[in-house]
Amino acid sequence: MNKFEPVIGLEVHVQLSTESKMFTNAPYYFGAEPNTLTNAVVMGMPGTLPVLNKRAIEKTIQVGLLLDCEIPRQSKWDRKHYFYPDMPKNYQISQYDQPLCVGGEVEIELEGESRNVMGPHRYVKLTRIHLEEDVGKLTHLGDISVVDYNRAGAPLIEIVTEPDIYSPEEAYAFLTSLRSTLQAAGISDCDMEKGQLRCDANISVKPVGSAKLGTKVELKNLNSITGVRNGIAYEIDRQTRDILAGGTITQETRRWDADAEMTYVMRTKEEAHDYRYMPDPDLMPVIITDEWKAELAKGLAEKPFDRQRRYMDTLDLPYTITSVLCQEPELCTFFEETLTIHKNAKAIANFLVNDIQREIAEASHDEDQKVLADFAITPGILAELVALVDKGTISNQIAKEILPEIIKNGKSPATLVKEKGLEQSSDSGELELICQDAIDNNPKPVAEFKAGKEPAINALKGQVMKATRGKANPKMVDDILRKLLS
């Protein structure tokens, strides 16, 4: 029996997707040649002055509105001092005591009884969200380190949770929910591999039922959402084992090594930083008026869980489909556009979640992740395909077969079906001959069916489908077979 329970708080850094940096107009995007996205401000040249990026502030306020934070009327900027080569001016501009967002919560879904059932939902409390500048990227090579300042100065928000997460699975659920919410709102792409979303965890364990929190350990280098779950699970286990063995937990910072699957000490409390925060004299505070907030609230995307509830309640989509669909904002937009053209939500959602997502996954590689927009298919084309099935022109099977081609070349499904002669065969005379053939050549299922074994008819249907290369109307085949066998 495990007599200890964990308490976890997360600090999540998210890069905002903007054209320019937080305090200067140098461009920022991922993947540029090293040190090509800088200017005198980024490089910390004497005499340079920072100027606030309005869009970054607006996006941060939007995150606050999405996560039900309080947005104080005034917010200010502070310098956080430290010596480390990732920041040329030896301080990072951040927010200390007047962040843009205070409080707030993130809705998470815990694991259900099975994959087909919606799990229980809960809200994880937030402490604050502040806006700061990202730092440069260090790479360690042998006995030297090299620095690329492209990332330095990029707008970065830090989302801090209360110690209100109680298992590695909840931490995982928190990050997936936060990520899809921010992606849907166009705040950030949240690609962990590109460093657009990074997460540190504060972890402690305490005897079950105890009100007093244990000594916390800060865990860094959690580079993927799976890494967050595995790193936290390891750390809970390590602390529990240490305490049971009679040891005590030291307040320290540890690093998760995903390859070795263990954590090791980076620094202890004695080596903790003294950041000497002070108000930045170069930057004036920002006043967030109710009018500005209202304006920003107007353009906000629906939150993924709200969207999922709407799809389930008003479109009658099953949980399994919506749980995949609503994690992918791009698919949702495509889905809703298709739905305005042809009103068969279930069929459209099915094609998107199953067939189209599979094609995207198959075309993607580690280095080259594809998205729906990379393909030629449009909502109009998907609507046309589903309409062909609904009208009975082609079978669902044929639709699935031609879909990969349509996704890639964006060809009109109606034209393709005509060219390939794939129209569903509804010529009852011809079908009757084929059905009779199937009955004549398959005495065993015929005998079984006549003896009352209902599923035996499927073997006959399969033969007919094979003979017609899938073009026969399944309903008609069923009717004809039953008529001939009666």
Partner: protein, 96 residues
């Protein structure tokens, strides 16, 4: 004026990443204590009812639109770097 404030010169030196001789420590500790004395004078001012601020002027919302402008070419950005490798700045090995 109250007594001269004291400060931990070793800690201050460590924060600034500089090493000091014993003679320097004594000299700078004295000078910095004097600076702290000025702040004690400021602290003596009655600020009851005055809203704290980091700025003398009530100016807010100095912002720019999110428009990117090309900055320094790589070779210019690296002109101050004593050592370079493939477009990056070489520094002594640092692992936090």
């Amino acid at each position: 004026m109250s007594e001269e404030p004291t400060l931990d010169i070793d800690y201050v030196a460590q924060l600034a990443r500089i090493s000091l001789t014993e003679e320097e420590k004594a000299r700078y500790a004295k000078q910095l204590s004097k600076v702290l004395g000025y702040f004690q004078e400021l602290a003596a001012v009655d600020t009851e009812g005055v809203e704290p601020t980091a700025h003398a002027n009530p100016i807010f919302d100095v912002m720019r639109e999110d428009v990117a402008v090309d900055g320094l070419p790589q070779e210019r950005a690296l002109m101050n770097a004593p050592k370079q490798l493939d477009g990056e700045v070489v520094v002594p090995k640092v692992i936090e």
